[in-house]
Symmetry: C2
Subunit: 186 residues, 2 copies
């Protein structure tokens, strides 16, 4: 268990990333994290002052990872229409890779208490950025179809998680495609 390739802090964060997403935040204990990360408990509290701080760092890391992967799909396209449709292909991809576990942020939203403004703000910021991502691609000024795209996109994630199936992604993607035809979006 000695001579790990990466430093303890990253091992903790990587493990937390995996476990929080796979099992949920409350269902994942500190002891399981340090055990699977191969790290002492004191080391965890050396790098993170509490479980909640680890939760915040988890969201930050997940945010970066998620958007990086998303852009791998969308940057490959030039036309706005194709960029958006590629975003839905990305959903199909993570559903396969992560066994329909849905959105880390929305999952955590369901677990936090109404008075936890810190984590709520972090979740809201992530989703606001996604909203803006669609708005930027579609250069939304007059029409507000980017929020429709956003909402269908969000629904595709959640409903895939619920039904453990890709059909919501396909339906949403098709609906967006139809909408673009209608609005003459290239």
């Amino acid at each position: 268990m000695k001579h790990h390739p990466i430093v303890p802090r990253e091992r903790i964060l990587d493990t937390a990333l995996r476990l929080f997403h796979a099992q949920g935040y409350n269902a994942t204990g500190i002891n399981q994290i340090i055990s699977e990360a191969g790290v002492a408990k004191a080391s965890l509290y050396l790098h993170f002052k509490s479980k909640e701080e680890l939760g915040i760092e988890y969201l930050n890391a997940r945010h970066d990872l998620w958007f990086t992967q998303l852009r791998l799909f969308t940057d490959a396209e030039k036309k706005p229409r194709k960029k958006i449709l590629a975003a839905f292909d990305f959903l199909t991809h993570i559903n396969e890779n992560e066994n329909f576990r849905g959105c880390s942020f929305l999952n955590l939203l369901s677990e936090i208490q109404p008075d936890n403004f810190v984590l709520l703000a972090s979740i809201q910021t992530h989703k606001q950025e996604l909203r803006q991502f669609f708005a930027d691609i579609l250069e939304d000024q007059k029409n507000d179809i980017s929020d429709i795209v956003y909402m269908l996109f969000e629904s595709a994630i959640t409903e895939s998680q619920l039904f453990k199936s890709q059909w919501p992604v396909e339906k949403a993607q098709q609906a967006v495609s139809d909408l673009f035809k209608l609005k003459y979006i290239k």
Copy 2:
């Protein structure tokens, strides 16, 4: 604390309904439920064999309550178009009444483990019924716009919970309204 108006079993279920929805399933302990229900612990385990069984009954009760309230809005309308739009008014209503706590079923979905097929099935059945509810109103045979409505409806609930705002309901309702105009749905 004696001479309660309703029997212990209902007091437990009512309290669980309120607390599970407000705080989440895992965050709500048995002790809090019996305390607020004014019931002995042995009484709880007399009527429910475990917390999970209480969880199942919670979903059942919530299902009935939710659809009953929904139909209060939709049954008041005759035209399919107006029925659907009234369903979104219902969302605005529960957002106000329940402080943007979102959907009980999707919230629980985020908390359960992937191997919990019992609770997953219960959640899926509820949502399948909602899907069918829209399909029946729109008499979906050829076109499949009812699933688009369903997905926008779902998104409206979740995004309202996330942003603690009614804007997602309004946007989704407007989008559905536009879609109906386009497809000549009365």
